[in-house]
């Protein structure tokens, strides 16, 4: 049994999936409690391989990356590692996909480290992000009082109040990237897509460049939270005359995004490129596809295209 001395506690947080999905809220909360937070480094090939070697092939690409981050943290001198359980929306109508729900169970079953080192508070989320109960559970498991936990809580303003990031000056077309936050924001996972598009002269927009669309937009009627967000964001950009093209990042074997891929192709008028991300990433193939896509956007400017929405 690992004994955590509060003052000296070092807690590892995987820089993957939930970290990107909820804008680092868990790491910020732990820091506010005075914990020494060890964030795993940005994904790299070694981290990915550490996950790939222990996870079954059929699980999706992001889960392999996540497990790699946990495996990395397990080798460090950290007392505990946070692998939360994400339960779903408070309205019980919108849910995370099953592998994301089961992250903690997968990590525990793989035996990457002593089970007592794992911290797995259960989080629900609402329109603004993660709800307070999960943070309190996390604080309690580290022996902090309710009062201390309340003080450290991310405020509603910081739960989902990223500043809107203005994009760099550009000469070429504006391209919006849609997909799961943990593949859009993880440069290794998406093979440095934003950088590559910018080098082709594009203005690149991600979810960070628009007003927050909230968690689990319910108007879509979809069951899975992030697929719903992708649908809403794609719709937003489809109606935006400034956006010349949309790139949809689809991680290998992602069920919910696979389900909406064809729906997006049918309903979005803006030229859309779907990139399937997997472990066999070929930069050469990707660059060729991006060049062809940007070429198409430049030949067919936004003004000349018919938009039905």
């Amino acid at each position: 049994m690992v004994v955590v001395r509060r003052a000296a506690a070092r807690v590892g947080v995987p820089r993957s999936i939930l970290h990107y999905e909820f804008d680092g809220a868990i790491a910020r909360f732990l820091e506010a409690l005075g914990i020494d937070v060890v964030l795993s480094p940005p994904t790299n090939r070694e981290i990915f391989l550490a996950g790939k070697h222990v996870v079954i092939d059929e699980l999706c690409f992001p889960i392999k990356i996540f497990v790699g981050h946990v495996a990395y943290l397990a080798t460090l001198n950290v007392d505990r590692i946070v692998v939360p359980v994400v339960v779903g929306h408070v309205n019980d109508r919108v849910f995370p996909c099953h592998p994301r729900c089961r992250l903690a169970d997968i990590v525990r079953a793989l035996g990457l480290c002593d089970e007592t080192r794992l911290l797995s508070p259960a989080f629900r989320f609402d329109a603004g992000g993660l709800c307070a109960e999960g943070f309190h559970e996390l604080a309690r498991s580290l022996d902090f009082s309710e009062k201390e936990s309340h003080r450290a809580l991310p405020t509603p303003q910081t739960r989902d109040s990223r500043p809107v990031v203005p994009s760099a000056p550009h000469a070429g077309p504006s391209v919006g990237i849609v997909g799961r936050p943990y593949v859009v924001k993880d440069a290794w996972a998406n093979n440095h897509l934003a950088q590559r598009l910018e080098s082709l002269g594009c203005r690149v927009l991600t979810e960070d460049g628009v007003q927050p669309i909230g968690y689990s937009p319910e108007g879509t009627g979809l069951h899975f939270d992030l697929a719903a967000r992708t649908l809403v964001l794609a719709g937003l950009w489809d109606r935006d005359p400034e956006i010349a093209g949309i790139v949809f990042l689809l991680p290998f074997n992602c069920g919910p995004d696979g389900d909406i891929a064809r729906h997006l192709q049918r309903t979005v008028d803006t030229p859309m490129l779907t990139l399937v991300l997997d472990e066999l990433q070929s930069s050469a193939g990707l660059v060729t596809r991006l060049e062809a896509f940007v070429d198409l956007l430049e030949r067919e400017p936004v003004a000349t295209r018919g938009r039905s929405r």
């Binding site: 996870v55 079954i56 059929e58 699980l59 359980v85 994400v86 339960v87 779903g88 019980d92 109508r93 849910f95 996909c97 099953h98 592998p99 729900c101 089961r102 903690a104 169970d105 997968i106 525990r108 079953a109 793989l110 035996g111 797995s120 259960a122 009627g221 979809l222 069951h223 899975f224 689809l250 290998f252 074997n253 992602c254 069920g255 919910p256 995004d257 696979g258 389900d259 891929a261 064809r262 729906h263 049918r266 309903t267």
Partner: protein, 356 residues
């Protein structure tokens, strides 16, 4: 015009019972086979689970023969997977098909179910019609489950497996024709009598294998599960406790003891399929089964997430586990080979006294 639906195994019989109780008819869905799987694979996104592809193949085949009014049972609760998004997905997929309508029947409770029936059949559906239709539906679900389980056990225990197959066919036909709760009760009594009258083998089963996995694949009868259940005729007792019946009757009260059973392996996250599979696997281990067979569709999110957990469950108990992922390119020969190898391993372990 007839309604049509997709079917996990024989559950269309229960859906047909519900529709008949309301004065409507349901077409018999085509049998699952390579042509259906091929058609579904053409239509679906590659990441859709194999069960989903079978559904799409079955629907496409029925649309091609002229059926237009789809009525289907699916869940919207935390236990749901892609089926929760089915209506819109199907409407967009078959948008080019003139006159195609897709309606979900069923619901989380009586009010929800009544409202869904009315959205499909209009407000002439009264509360008592809904009540009677669901009484027939659940009665048939229970009886179909009983027939399926008892007949699989009898294929191992009886000395006349061909008579068991015949009994199963007759029973399914009778369940289909039973129009109300009383007729179902009589069918159930008849089945019990017939099953009890079958001659038994003198020797006990050589092995006992517990089957867990995706409810949809477990309920499929025509190809994959036909091969798996064929194992029973070699004198091996197959048991499974999941299936359409459990899904149709899911409630928090029923899930609570199963969740408790899974606590060492699963946190309390929403979903049902993983809980059923994990709890039943631990039950089989506790009851001294020789091995666990995990059957699931490639791309099935709940069962894929569960696979490492089941591996851990089996490892902790030192019980052999075979996970069979059934995908687009499955071949029955390959499936038989893997099952034979697994059975050889279990027999070798048993002969060495490694199992209880």
């Amino acid at each position: 015009m007839n309604h049509f639906t997709f079917s996990w195994g024989s559950n269309y019989i229960a859906v047909r019972g519900l529709l008949r109780a309301l004065g409507h008819e349901l077409a018999t869905p085509p049998r699952i086979g390579p042509a259906i799987a091929e058609r579904g694979t053409e239509l679906a996104h590659p990441f859709l689970c194999f069960s989903g592809k079978l559904v799409l193949g079955q629907l496409a085949a029925q649309l091609e023969r002229g059926d237009r009014r789809l009525a289907f049972m699916s869940s919207l609760g935390p236990e749901a997977c892609r089926c929760a998004d089915t209506s819109d997905y199907l409407r967009s997929l078959f948008a080019d098909c003139d006159g195609f309508t897709a309606h979900r029947i069923g619901g989380g409770g009586f009010g929800d179910a009544l409202s869904n029936l009315r959205s499909h059949f209009g407000f002439r559906v009264r509360r008592r019609d809904c009540f009677r239709a669901y009484a027939v539906f659940f009665g048939k679900v229970d009886l179909l489950h009983k027939v399926d389980k008892r007949c699989t056990a009898l294929r191992c225990l009886s000395s006349t497996p061909e008579r068991v197959r015949e009994l199963e066919r007759e029973a399914l036909d009778l369940v289909d024709r039973s129009a109300g709760p009383f007729a179902l009760w009589r069918t159930s009594r008849w089945f019990d009598r017939e099953a009890a009258g079958l001659p038994l083998r003198p020797e006990p089963p050589s092995l006992r294998i517990g089957v867990v996995g995706g409810e949809h694949i477990l309920s499929e009868l025509d190809s994959i599960m036909a091969v798996v259940k064929g194992v029973a005729e070699r004198g091996i007792l197959l048991d499974w406790r999941s299936g359409f019946r459990l899904l149709a009757r899911t409630s928090e009260e029923r899930l609570a003891p199963l969740k408790e059973k899974c606590r060492p392996y699963l946190h309390s996250a929403p979903s049902t399929s993983e809980i059923f599979s994990c709890a039943h696997a631990t039950d089989f281990i506790d009851e001294g089964y020789d091995g666990i067979l995990h059957v699931y569709a490639f791309g099935c999110m709940p069962q894929t997430a569960l696979k490492p957990v089941l591996q851990r469950v089996a490892q902790d108990a030192s019980v052999p586990l075979l996970s069979l992922s059934i995908g687009d390119r499955f071949a029955e020969e390959g499936l038989e080979n893997r099952l034979e190898a697994f059975i050889d391993l279990l027999e070798a372990r048993k002969s060495k006294g490694a199992t209880k």
